[in-house]
């Protein structure tokens, strides 16, 4: 009998621990989900006002400029319908280029400037990040719809 009680108690403790773990995992999971928005969606105000999210599209030609301190850069990301201004402090990845696809993660500041803390462009030249491709496609679909109206 004793062994059975012991076993039962341990299984109960195990289940409780498992339940706590599940709750903690779900919580951590939810608070670390990063959502993706296209420049058009950001323009419409669909993106969160506070908190991080990702944007994607093409780096607009001729839009990259370096701020006087030498470390901060600004560039425009476009989905061909709308553009938004992005600022990033740090060293850009090697495959970051004007006219190429890019994904950036960061927050909108009070002036509507997107302050990126991460810029992803680490692919070969033929490769378009799926997020960037999706942003371009969404904008294009919208245009086609507009045209048929």
């Amino acid at each position: 009998m004793k062994a059975r009680h012991k076993r039962f108690g341990l299984i109960a403790v195990g289940l409780i621990l498992l339940a706590i773990a599940a709750v903690l995992i779900t919580k951590s999971f939810r608070s670390n989900l990063v959502f993706f928005f296209t420049p058009t969606q950001v323009e419409k105000g669909e993106a969160p006002k506070s908190g991080s999210f990702r944007i994607g599209g093409l780096v607009e030609n001729g839009s990259l400029k370096r701020l006087p301190d030498g470390l901060r850069v600004q560039f425009k990301v476009t989905d061909t319908a709308k553009t938004m201004l992005v600022e990033y402090k740090g060293i850009l990845p090697d495959l970051f280029k004007e006219g190429k696809g890019v994904v950036a993660e960061g927050k909108l500041n009070a002036n509507g400037l997107f302050e990126a803390d991460q810029v992803l462009a680490k692919h070969d030249e033929n490769y378009m990040p799926p997020e960037a491709a999706a942003a371009l496609k969404a904008a294009n679909d919208a245009k086609v719809k507009e045209g048929t109206k």
Binding site: I25, N32, R66, G90, I91, K122, D124, E125, Y127, P130
Partner: protein
């Protein structure tokens, strides 16, 4: 001509794979020896033709045959020879070629070294591996043919992605694939056992060395990849929780669980169904990894531009293999039986907890990796899961498991006593607690995370040593001959100790680099001095140099501590004209206690550059830990009981049982 021979060999290999994957199974089922005897020759013929195809493809790279589309897209006449040969796996088609070649190598090894297995079992095993091969060969031949001609031929190739032009390219993919694909042997073992409806101690003993070899390769492959990312990507990270890294890490976690579960099955005849399930899961996760990398659904360093048909093909294949295996499992597993019983506190129960922890950790990584893909497939928008999720959840799940790592090996099989274990480990507990407080204080700052990390690292390492001392003491008490006693302990035991020690070293590395690294992004003019930590970095300027297929701006930094120069670092910014791409080559001075790391950003006005400087304490311990783990695996493999057992088993299983028990 050569590419056509390659293409033809590939098709022949496909035909042999079909024979290998189907005919012998019918033979075993219907008891027709002429059919079942085809397994070995078909497998060997498949091996020969795959190797021939592989050589043909690599010869095309060697000979700069730019009339082959794949060569023209991934190589260049100016590319150094070693990278030309390694460029074979620089793209999608070639990676698949490497995958299937390594599968052929494993199958060949099974036909050579598994002679002691019972006839029907061995035939089923080889046949199942043939089935796996059919799918991949079909995939290559019908959707991703590496031998496709380019007419007219290109004058020169488009070059290998500069990111891949690194010694890491020569080692990382083949070693990683050896691990990935190696789990196919454990998988085939499990399927054959399910078909057989029999799963006993001897089964576990056959499977163990194969699984351990695969695990050693996977461990090394992941470590190579991490090291490569550290110095090549130029931002000093060693693990990004990138989906593709996760894809290789999940089979590792489940494979580690499998190694432990197999140990229980071998020694105690318990955990049987669980072991079979883990074997299936480990390989399924390897396949899932291949799908993730090759289908182009991910934003990752490893993703190539691919066409969606391939993704659908792999997905279909995945469903057939994994779904089929699990169905078979559900149908046949009850026949295998659960195995021996054990007490709540025992080595079995601790290993069970270890398994639960590892599988839960793999599950949490799987959730974070697959959830965004699922949401995307369901049209619920694009999301990603941030690295903090993986960091916090993974650490929280693993920590209790790591603590148990200290107790488990001391616990007795069947029934153990906690107070007794506690008594034996009190020294280790004191050492770990003291270091948990002292080490962070010496390094500069005591935080909860660093204290917990140092505690666990020292705990895992010190309990391993105490285990060894205990074992020697027990033997000394019986016969006081120190040297003989040290030699008498089985190599498998030393292997386990070493692998656990490696985990301890790894944890210390991770904790100390996470807790105490310093990083600075700066704008530096010539003769500027940057202070990072207690070191000064003097920027001496940049000069232009020419490489074999690139131009480079090479910076010179003099690093000094207390006014004394300790090293000179020369990071580069390379320009590869063929692809028009720029690569950052960081320069690193590695050390036992810290790495100094400098990479060049972009040129600014007046000869100034943006520069990134890191000091990474104990970062080398991360890879040293992985290498120690792998060495532990190799040591365990060299244990003579596998050899003895394998020889004897051929004659008499019962005999071998006694040899082992002794």
């Amino acid at each position: 001509m050569i590419p056509e021979i390659g293409q033809f060999s590939l098709i022949l290999a496909f035909c042999f794979a079909i024979v290998q994957g189907t005919v012998p199974l019918v033979g075993v089922w219907r008891n027709i020896a002429t059919l079942s005897n085809l397994a070995v020759p078909a497998a060997r013929a498949q091996f020969v033709f795959i190797v021939l195809a592989f050589i043909c493809l690599d010869y095309s790279f060697y000979a700069n045959d730019f009339s082959v589309l794949y060569v023209a897209s991934n190589s260049n006449s100016h590319l150094p020879l070693a990278y030309r040969l390694a460029a074979l796996w620089g793209g999608h088609e070639g990676s698949m070629m490497l995958w299937v070649s390594i599968l052929a190598v494993w199958t060949m090894a099974v036909t050579l070294f598994a002679k002691s297995l019972p006839e029907t079992f061995r035939i089923r095993l080889i046949s199942v591996m043939g089935m796996v091969s059919i799918g991949f060969l079909a995939f290559i031949i019908f959707t991703s043919n590496p031998f496709e001609r380019l007419i007219p031929a290109a004058l020169d190739g488009r070059d290998l992605n500069p990111l891949l032009q690194d010694p890491g390219m020569v080692f990382h993919p083949p070693v990683l694939y050896m691990g990935y694909v190696g789990f196919s042997v454990a998988f085939a073992f499990a399927i054959a056992a399910l078909l057989d409806g029999r799963l006993d101690i001897t089964w576990a003993r056959w499977t163990r060395p194969w699984t351990t070899v695969a695990w050693v390769f996977l461990t090394l492959g992941i470590a190579f990849g991490s090291k490569w990312a550290y110095y090549e990507l130029g931002w000093g990270g060693w693990w990004f929780w990138d989906a593709v890294e996760n894809a290789s890490f999940m089979p590792w976690l489940v494979g580690t669980a499998l190694i432990h579960s197999l140990a229980v099955t071998e020694k105690r005849d318990a955990f049987k169904v669980w072991t079979v399930l883990l074997s299936i899961c480990a390989f399924s996760l390897s396949l899932l990894g291949t799908f993730l990398v090759r289908s182009g659904v991910l934003t990752s360093v490893h993703a190539f531009a691919t066409d969606p048909r391939r993704g659908v093909f792999i997905l279909l294949y995945l469903v057939i293999v994994i779904g089929g295996a699990l169905l078979l499992f559900a149908w046949r597993a009850p026949k295998v039986g659960l195995g021996e019983k054990f007490d709540v506190v025992s080595r079995e129960s601790m290993l069970l907890t270890n398994n639960v922890v590892l599988v839960a950790a793999a599950g949490s990584v799987l959730l974070g990796t697959m959830y965004p893909l699922l949401m995307d497939a369901l049209g619920a928008g694009k999301i990603s899961v941030g690295p903090p999720y993986f960091d916090s959840v993974f650490v929280a799940i693993m920590a209790p498991g790591l603590f148990l790592m200290g107790l488990g090996p001391l616990a007795k099989w069947k029934k153990a006593s906690l107070p007794e274990i506690g008594l034996r480990l009190r020294v280790a507990a004191v050492i770990s607690l003291v270091s948990a407080l002292l080490v962070p204080l010496i390094m500069g700052k005591l935080t909860v995370m660093t204290a917990v990390g140092v505690f666990l690292g020292i705990w895992v390492a010190s309990t391993s040593l105490i285990l060894l001392i205990n074992r020697i003491k027990t033997r000394q008490a019986a016969t006081p001959n120190f040297l003989e006693n040290i030699k008498g302990i089985p190599l498998a035991f030393y292997g386990m100790l070493l692998a656990h020690l490696g985990i301890g070293v790894f944890i210390l590395g991770v904790t100390l680099v996470k807790g105490f690294e310093s990083e600075q992004d700066l704008r530096m003019e010539v003769n500027d001095v940057a202070k990072v930590g207690n070191l000064s970095f003097l920027f001496k300027g940049v000069q232009e140099i020419a490489g074999p297929n690139y131009m480079s701006s090479q910076g010179t930094f003099s690093v000094s501590s207390n006014g004394k120069e300790i090293t000179v670092l020369k990071p580069e910014k390379r320009f590869y004209p063929v692809q028009g791409s720029v690569m950052t080559e960081a320069d690193i001075e590695p050390g036992v206690f810290r790495d100094e790391y400098v990479s060049l950003g972009e040129p600014l006005e007046n000869g100034a550059w943006s520069v990134r400087i890191y000091i990474k304490p104990f970062v080398q311990w991360i890879w040293a830990g992985a290498i120690i783990m792998a060495l532990g695996g190799i040591l365990a493999l060299s244990d003579r009981r596998y050899r003895i057992v394998n020889k004897k088993l051929a004659k008499d299983t019962q005999d071998a049982q006694e040899v082992f028990e002794a």
